[in-house]
């Protein structure tokens, strides 16, 4: 292991040393070799395309600034503003007055404090196996609502795809070039911080998901944390490196299988429950990590779906696609 070894430069330890001194990127795969001339050429091409796009944007802004709206339009807009403000103000007053007539928040004898809430609080842990009553409530008692809620997220991602997905050819290249123009890559500070933080963020996300039934958290929040970690990784290292482990294929497989398993699990649960059969799902000891039956699995599925969606949003907004 001595530095005097002839092949020291190619060893693991020399790379660590170089990483500490800031000479080399560590923890990363090496880029594919490309001849420098070729790379320069493509870069220049991409830059000119991006510059064209920027110019067009500036021109558009100039046109917006230098065109006068018509007279009657101006008047209409003024009137419209006044009326809109009036309507909003009336609505506000109406709703505020109504709220003042509603039962006082936190009173013990409010209509909302009835047998429904009582059973959730008193028997929730025993019946669902989840120490976190909220998780037990949304994933077990009212699992059907939450299934709909998860699909709201799914449909939102699909809607963004309809708007922003760039499927083919020239546009895609231009989008990619534009992306490169705006975002400085290979920033050493960001990369070092990301190399340190991203694994921790992932671990935190996994912890929040797996502890969803024990402590505050669960699939939605944990998935959002993992998604944020992925976004951080992309911002630091760029899409090329991220797509070695998280590309469109992985995204599709993860999202579709998570949602499918989710719906299948719940369907089984609904079917058995509706017919009054025993569903053979052991609730375990409340407080253990493997407990609360389906809730743990549903949290994992929801977490996967949320993480995928978060990353997809970022990728779609930034370059119009996942690949």
């Amino acid at each position: 292991m001595s530095r005097k070894r002839r092949d020291y430069k190619s060893t693991f330890y020399s790379r660590i040393e170089n990483f500490v001194n800031g000479k080399e990127e560590f923890l990363l795969y090496r880029e594919k070799k490309e001849s420098d001339v070729q790379r320069l050429e493509t870069l220049e091409e991409e830059l000119t395309e991006a510059a064209d796009l920027l110019e067009m944007r500036e021109e558009l802004q100039w046109m917006r600034d230098h065109t006068e709206p018509l007279d009657f339009l101006k008047r209409f807009h003024r009137l419209y503003g006044v009326i809109a403000a009036l309507v909003c103000f009336t609505m506000m007053v109406l709703l505020l007055v109504t709220v003042s007539w509603l039962p006082r928040f936190g009173n013990a004898d409010n209509p909302a404090n009835n047998e429904v809430i009582k059973r959730y609080i008193e028997k929730g842990e025993e019946e669902t196996g989840a120490v976190n009553i909220v998780t037990g409530l949304i994933l077990n008692y009212r699992g059907f609502d939450t299934m709909g809620e998860t699909h709201v997220l799914f449909i939102a991602a699909s809607c963004v795809m309809i708007l922003l997905l760039i499927a083919e050819g020239e546009e895609k290249r231009a989008g990619y070039a534009f992306d490169r123009y705006l975002e400085p890559k290979n920033d050493i500070i960001i990369q070092k911080v990301a190399a340190f933080l991203v694994p921790m963020v992932f671990v935190l996300g996994i912890y929040v998901i797996l502890n969803g039934h024990l402590s505050p958290g669960g699939g939605f929040s944990g998935g959002a944390i993992i998604g944020a970690g992925l976004i951080m990784y992309v911002s630091a290292y760029g899409f090329r490196k991220t797509e070695r482990f998280f590309n469109e294929h992985v995204y599709k497989v993860a999202k579709v299988s998570a949602l499918c398993f989710y719906v299948c699990c719940l369907s089984y649960y609904f079917y058995m429950g509706a017919h009054g059969y025993d569903n053979h799902i052991s609730l375990g000891t409340p407080g253990n990590i493997i407990s609360s039956g389906l809730i743990l699995f549903i949290n994992i599925f929801v977490g996967t779906e949320v993480a995928c969606t978060m990353y997809a949003f970022y990728a779609l907004f930034r370059k119009g696609g996942l690949e």
Binding site: E127, D145, E149, I155, I162, G273
Partner: protein, 497 residues
Amino acid sequence: MSWIENCVPLSIIICLMGGIISSAIKGEAARKLTVTLITAVALMNALVLGYTVRLGHEFVYVMGRFPAPWGNELRAGCLEGLMGLFFSVIMLLSVLGGVRGQNDDIRPGRMNLYFIMINLMMSSLMALVYTNDLFTAYVFVEINTMAACALIMIRDNGHTLVAATKYMIMSLLGSGLLLIGISMLYSITGQLLMPNIRDAVDRLAESGEYAIPLTVIIGLLSVALAIKSALYPFHSWLPEAYGFSTASSAAILSSLVSKGYIFLLIKIFYRVIGMQVMVGHKITNILFAFGIIGMIMGSVTAIRQTDVRHLIAYSSIAQIGYIYMGIGLGSTAGMIAAVFHILSHGATKSMLFIAQRGLVEVSNGSKNFTDLKGSGLRNKLSGVAFAVGAFSMVGIPLLAGFTSKVYFAKAAITAVDAKMWIAMITLAISTILNAVYFIRATISIYTPRNMNYADPKYRPGIMTDIALVCFIALNFFLGVLSYPIYHTIELGLKIFG
């Protein structure tokens, strides 16, 4: 417990699964999957309808181990079965009829996204029909809103983006008001399950407690769903949304999306607040007034249109007015007429949108009436379907529109004084206005001119033909054999409360 009861949750869940799987497969495969699933849903709903009619009362399907109000539940009576069957059949025909339009208007890479939306739309409609829980209804209203928005903007031109933005703003305003209404209702009743809310509301109405919040809640819920279903003053999103989206999308939006919300409102009337409380709060009178204005204004605006799509769109506003007029009469007869008009308008309007597409195809792709002249002769089946749809909307006997107008008139005669006169006179005026623009449109497409527009090689797609024939048959069926349907609606409303 009969095995047929499983069809109720299954029809929601297989469509959700269909949406998920569509996101991973290619467009053509997604279309086949979607068509298969919607056919399956239609069959299952037919079974549920037959079962509930024979049963004579409703049944409850508990979603999971815990009964409502702790868990979720679905509830199906024969009105729900009828609506489910109707929605799935219209969805199937609209998707089939618009196959060619989908191929032309949607970019190839996005075809599967379109079918995700169709599947989730179907699923949310089924959930809205069968749910017995107000919050579940809200969750699926959200899915419905987003899917409708996507159905508008999937055709990639500037108009649809503007239309989708307008739709989104108006529709989210409606969703927001609905959510505020539901939360306030929860805080004064402490319940989310429909029958339990109804009990609590009855108690509150009797004791006079929380009278002001209750009035505001009734207003909020009604206005929210009126915005979402494009009742007259809130219709500004409608013409563009129907006018520029693909033919299937327009058919689905006009006959299913707005009707789903109206059905939810009817459910709220009967199951959540109770018809007597609703009538007591005079909300029916307000809906009646706006319905009447909508009937006239929609038709008056439609007369001025030179674009066939916009004509059909503005006519929708008038027809939504009819439905709200029926609800506003506040009687069972009025409600039956309104529900029947949901069916007949849904069957007719989707046919008009699909037929219109066939006519535009043989007129250089122009939607203007000067170019459309003679298109009924160039594309025979679409011409016939358009004429049948137009006649049905005007109210020519033997067709669906006539029957629903008869039911409206019958309901109006039994109403109280002022409402009777207003409803009868407006029905007459509105029928004449309908005739003005629909008969003119029909004459215009059968005026033999522009015959050189037709491409000799032009063949309308076989799927579109099948869909149009089914639509025409459905129209005659609703027009001639309406009694069993009338009876089912009556029984369903009786089960409702």
